[in-house]
């Protein structure tokens, strides 16, 4: 089983939360949500660059499904 890597740039649709603590608050939500997706084994959000690094199993999930999930949560998503 080989894992694939994906990096997405996300931006909250309606402005960002707190510059200090809000960042980590948002980060944990995002990571937790992605980690609960079937097939996603790693999700790491960088609150400075707004990039999220994802490791997933292509047999179980694909980038469009991951992107869709993030969009449903209200993030704007771009490929990074």
């Amino acid at each position: 089983m080989s894992l694939e890597k994906l990096t997405l740039k996300v931006d909250k649709a309606e402005g960002n939360a707190c510059p200090t603590c809000g960042g980590s608050f948002q980060g944990t939500t995002l990571e937790n949500t992605l980690m609960r997706l079937n097939g996603v084994s790693k999700a790491k959000y960088d609150e400075v660059t707004y990039k999220v690094k994802i490791e997933y199993d292509p047999q179980k999930v694909n980038p469009s499904k991951i992107t869709e999930r993030l969009q449903k949560l209200g993030y704007r998503v771009q490929n990074a």
Binding site: G15, A17, T20, N32
Partner: protein
């Protein structure tokens, strides 16, 4: 989780080095002050993640409060305040670690739901039972669920009988009986019987997975009140920078450099918009998480703000306030016949009919232990009743079958029942009425309680139904709603909702399928018993997964509480910042107290909001 461990370890190291630094300084041994400085610097270094992040933010041209903190610490070191600087780092690390932990716990409500779903399932393949990962199940396969285990998939019971606790989905701990043909949900807890379930939905398609996704999405949907907080946050950094510059210059001129540095450092440390920006999102996560553990999905912050203002609630009758299935509520034998006899003849005639009323009669006969032989011949006359033969006897059921002149006694009994809103079935055996069976939809166990609770909150209750006036009046009277409207077409229900809106925010409670237009037109639509219908869960503003109507009142109370916490927290944060900044500007706050004040403010807000999770 690893984040917290790392955070905690760094915090502990900071404490150890700071204390050591301070103790060594007091011993007065050789090189005490030099050693003390080194230890303090090590303690300060433990906050490296703070500095790294601030520098990276600066590199990406984002000026944030974190930069202030780093400047403050650097300034303290430059001014020779090593131990105070270390103490500030210690306080900040303590605050962040604690905050992260509380946030993690607040998010835990979802984690609980996630853990409800088993990762593996016992499945029958090639006549053998094998344990496989839930993700590898194939639709249509038969999964075996042992007593006391959680059901891994959504599907239909093919054999077995058990009482299943569906609290994971509906929030109601009364077990539901499940037998062949019944639908079960992933995540629910099997009782004492073994079940064989045909797999219909797995992994992310299960009802539980949908619920989790919806809760995640709801927690991200901002409450409108957040905009107030955001507006403050936007102006925060520029305002603080200007204030710091003014205070520094003024103090430098009037008092001196040292005092100017101290005051500026204090301003930088005490200023934090975090309480402000965290107040609302955490309250939101807490309230929605709280609701989700009780089988209530509130779709985002906007709905919390609407629900808190609800002035009147409209309920659909059939299937919402009532069970929606007719039941035999009275049997009146006439002449010298017995109750059992009346039910038996009726049941024989109705045995092969699929009509809900027939089913009610059969159910009653079964309940009374009356045996039901097959009719020799039977015929349904739509709109009139049933005609059947049993041996030599002719059995007729229904008011439409009574063409002979009705005796006074029968007539009186019929109108008595009808005035109570019942449907009356005369049972006619060989041209003689042997008895009357009264059938009615029954009220849900908690309807009356639900209405009473709303009344105590000062909320008006209205029942709207397409049913006839008499049945509506009877139900309305028993439940105790303030008003009712009967014989309404779906579009007329919408009109009633429209009229109610003149009296303030209107909530509508229905099953989400038949009353979709009315639900959509109300300010807040509550879909009840939504667990079985993905459409109802998706479209409702608030989905009650079970059918406990008292949850309507709970949702309103929870929303009121959540909103008042949001307001309280925002007001508190603003006041706290103003207080801190004033004290710091006047030189009444040393840097350490400034850091303590800031963290205390932030943590109080976080805790206050997180407590919503425990609200009952």
């Amino acid at each position: 989780m690893r984040e917290y461990i790392r955070g905690t370890v760094l915090f502990i190291l900071t404490v150890v080095f700071t204390v050591a630094s301070w103790l060594i300084l007091r011993t007065g041994i050789a090189y005490a002050s030099e050693s003390s400085i080194v230890l303090a610097l090590i303690a300060i270094a433990c906050g490296y993640r703070l500095y790294a992040k601030a520098l990276r933010l600066l590199y990406h041209k984002r000026i944030t409060v974190q930069l202030f903190v780093v400047i403050a610490i650097a300034a303290s070191i430059a001014a020779g305040y090593y131990i105070p600087a270390a103490t500030v780092v210690l306080i900040i690390l303590a605050g962040t670690t604690l905050e992260d932990y509380i946030l993690y716990r607040t998010r835990g409500a979802i984690e609980k739901l996630v853990n409800m779903s088993p990762k593996t399932a016992l499945v029958r393949r090639d006549r053998e039972e094998v344990e496989v990962s839930v993700e590898d199940l194939v639709l249509g396969e038969t999964v075996l669920v042992k007593p006391g285990e959680r059901i891994p998939i959504d599907g239909t019971v093919v054999s077995g009988y058990s009482a299943v606790n569906q609290a994971a989905i509906t929030g109601e701990s009364m077990p539901a009986e499940k037998a062949k043909g019944d639908y079960v949900f992933a995540g629910t807890m099997n009782g004492n019987g073994a079940l064989e379930v045909k797999t219909e939905k797995i992994a992310e398609d299960t009802t539980l997975a949908h619920i989790i996704h919806l809760v995640e999405e709801a927690q991200e949907k901002k409450a409108p009140i957040q905009n107030i907080a955001d507006r403050f946050t936007t102006y925060f950094v520029p305002s603080i920078s200007i204030l710091a510059a003014v205070v520094f210059t003024a103090t430098y001129v009037l008092v001196g450099l040292q005092q100017a540095i101290t005051r500026t450092v204090s301003i930088f440390l005490v200023a934090c918009p975090c309480a402000l920006s965290l107040a609302v999102p955490i309250a939101l996560v807490g309230a929605i998480g709280n609701a989700s553990m009780r089988g209530i999905i509130i779709k985002g912050g906007t709905n919390i703000e609407k629900v808190k203002d609800v002035k009147s609630v409209a309920f659909d009758k059939t299937g919402t306030l009532t069970v929606g299935e007719p039941k035999v509520v009275n049997i009146r034998p006439l002449s010298n016949h017995s109750k059992d006899e009346v039910v038996r003849y009726a049941a024989i005639a109705e045995k092969f009919s699929e009509h809900p009323i027939s089913k009610a009669v059969i159910a009653k006969a079964t309940e009374l232990g009356v045996s039901i032989p097959d009719p020799t011949k039977f015929n349904i006359l739509p709109g009139r009743g049933v005609e059947a033969y049993y041996g030599k006897h002719e059995i007729l059921i229904g008011k439409g079958m009574m063409d002979t002149a009705v005796a006074e006694e029968e007539d009186k009994a019929i109108s008595e029942f009808e005035n109570e809103g019942r449907t009356v079935l005369p049972v006619i055996l060989d041209k003689h009425v042997v008895g009357l069976i009264a059938v009615a939809d029954t009220i849900r166990g908690n309807s009356r309680d639900a209405i009473e609770r709303l009344r105590r909150l000062g909320i008006k209750t209205v029942m709207i139904t397409g049913d006839n006036m008499r049945a509506a009046k009877s139900i309305a009277g028993q439940i105790g709603v303030d008003e009712f409207y009967a014989e309404l077409l779906p579009e007329q229900k919408v009109e009633v909702i429209g009229k109610m809106k003149s009296g303030g925010v209107v909530a509508m409670v229905g099953d989400g399928v038949n009353d979709a237009p009315a639900l959509a037109n109300a300010d807040v639509g509550f879909a009840m018993g939504a667990a079985g219908s993905d459409v109802a869960i998706e479209t409702a503003d608030v989905a009650l997964l079970g059918d406990d109507l008292t949850k309507v009142e709970y949702t309103i109370k929870l929303s009121r509480k959540a909103f008042s916490k949001m307001k309280m927290n925002i007001a508190f944060s603003i006041a706290w910042n103003i207080l801190g900044l004033t004290l710091a500007s006047l030189g009444l706050l040393v840097p350490i107290s400034a850091a303590v004040l800031q963290e205390a403010g932030c943590i109080s807000v976080v805790i206050n909001s997180a407590l919503l999770l425990l609200y009952k």
